[in-house]
């Protein structure tokens, strides 16, 4: 999966986790937490959804990599390169 598709996948997950948020204006280099009402349980939801949808295991020490869209995509690219868009 390429970066653009990974971003689409993250937006799709966020739309489920944060259904009240407007995601169209999301700034890629700004932390999710600064733009959206997300708490630790929501971040665990992102981890869980990646596990459920793409069977990606993210170790706890790497959770900080999911801070913003750009850092998340950068982190996931090598992990998702062999995954076809569902």
């Amino acid at each position: 999966m390429k970066a653009a598709k990974i971003k689409e996948a993250i937006i799709d997950i966020l739309s489920d986790i944060a259904p009240d948020e407007e995601l169209g204006e999301l700034k890629e280099d700004v932390a999710f937490a600064e733009q959206l009402e997300l708490d630790s349980m929501d971040f665990l939801d992102i981890v869980m959804e990646l596990r459920k949808r793409y069977r990606i295991q993210i170790p706890e020490e790497d959770y900080t990599e999911l801070a913003s869209m750009s850092s998340t995509v950068k982190y996931l690219e090598p992990l998702m390169q062999d995954i076809a868009k569902a």
Partner: protein, 414 residues
């Protein structure tokens, strides 16, 4: 005599918020009870299949964000809706109230079954690999969840917890609120009960296995307490939360007062897991009357608990006859005949639907009483059509539950 108590020890109902299968506010609920309009419909649930149930259609998004609904439970959502409605109804100056002095006391029959069933259902897709088990499971299933969601939604920092009291829970929530106000633990008690039980297949399957689940081709005819053709319980969801205050506080702010809780009691049968005991039920009614310093004939309306099971209705009828005999004054009705058994919400909902009788002087009926079971015969049973009474001053509300838990609340016009 309760009336001799100082106003600061007298507890009054100043707000009501509810969702029932036939109404999402007290005015609509009451009107449908007077009009004989049932809220029972066809229903289908996982594994169990087609059945009937009392389903609510309140607008959860009126008071919750989508995310709150997603993260929380149905019981929590019903609790939020009912508390918000009750607070609005009470006319309390919400922006200036001390939220550390508000207590939240929510009766529940059970909690956690819905979420646990849902998680296991989801986990099956992952071959029961528990790494796919949700981190939301614990906060959703802790026993205080329905009260805790109210605390979060309304930023109430006083005490919150649930009262696990089977189907006596709605009354138990009200009683707890009274007690905490009298103890000075809070100044406003959000008290009542909620039920999400229709969302667990287990409750239907268990009642079915017990031979206690209602069956009828016409859903609105399925719930028929005291009728000879009754076949069991119609499970319902719902909620009813009240604002309780000390009479002194209610007077000071010029609040509208629905009535005063002048008597209450809880006791235990201590004989059987499921079968009720009329001796202990009658004793519980007696304890509540004694606390209120009232005689049976002082009660104008008895809101019965009867659920439509063969044995349970017989037992309550026996208890009622034991207390009231043939006094010729007291009348009896039953709300479950309209909406089914709203479990943890039942006690509070059934009382609330009767409160407007203080104003309109009418006892709503018990519907579906085509042929009263001779063994459930009660002088004063208001069958099928509401009955106008000259005046209603006192209402007694029964709620009983499994493991032999009994509760009675008495409310008097003020």
């Amino acid at each position: 005599m309760v009336a001799k108590l100082p106003d600061r020890e007298r507890i009054v109902i100043t707000g009501v918020g509810l969702t029932a299968p036939n109404g999402n506010c007290l005015a609509d609920f009451r009107q449908n009870l007077l009009d004989g309009k049932s809220g029972v419909s066809e229903y289908e649930t996982r594994y169990f299949g087609k059945t009937v149930a009392g389903v609510c259609n309140y607008d959860a998004l009126r008071y919750q964000k989508r995310k709150e609904v997603r993260r929380g439970t149905r019981a929590g959502s019903a609790g939020v809706y009912c508390c918000r409605e009750a607070i609005a109804d009470s006319g309390i100056d919400w922006e200036n109230v001390d939220r550390a002095r508000i207590g939240i006391y929510v009766g529940v029959t059970e909690h956690g079954n819905v979420e646990t069933e849902n998680e296991i259902f989801q986990l099956k897709k992952y071959d029961y690999d528990t790494q796919f088990w949700s981190h939301h499971h614990n906060p959703r299933t802790v026993a205080n969840n329905p009260a805790g969601e109210v605390s979060l939604n309304l930023a109430i920092t006083g005490p919150h917890y649930t009262l696990g009291a089977a189907c006596a829970a709605g009354n138990a929530g009200l009683i707890q609120g009274c007690q905490m106000l009298r103890l000075g633990e809070c100044d406003i008690a959000l008290s009542g009960g909620v039920s999400e039980s229709i969302h667990t297949f287990g409750i239907f399957a268990s009642f079915h296995s017990q031979g206690a689940l209602a069956k009828h081709d016409d859903p609105v005819k399925a719930s028929r307490p005291f009728d000879v053709d009754r076949s069991g319980i119609v499970v319902a969801e719902g909620g009813c939360m009240t604002v309780l205050e000390r009479l002194s506080d209610a007077k000071a702010r010029g609040a509208k007062i629905y009535g005063e809780i002048v008597g209450h009691a809880m006791n235990s049968d201590a004989v059987d897991f499921v079968l009720p005991n009329p001796e202990r039920q009658a004793e519980c009614i007696g304890f509540a009357l004694k606390r209120a310093e009232l005689s049976p004939e002082d009660i104008d309306i008895v809101s019965t608990h009867a659920t439509g099971t063969i044995s349970g209705d017989l037992q309550e009828a026996a208890a009622l006859r034991q207390v009231w005999g043939n006094n010729g004054h007291t009348v009896f009705n039953n709300t479950k005949s309209f909406i089914g058994h709203a479990m943890g919400a039942a006690g509070a909902l059934e009382l609330a639907g009767n409160l407007p009788a203080f104003d309109d002087g009418v006892c709503h009926a018990s519907i579906n009483l085509d042929r009263v079971d001779p063994e459930c015969e009660l002088p004063g049973l208001v069958a099928n059509q509401p009955r106008e009474l000259s005046k209603v001053d006192v209402i007694l509300n029964n709620s009983f539950g499994m493991l032999g838990i009994n509760s009675v609340v008495i409310v008097r016009r003020i």
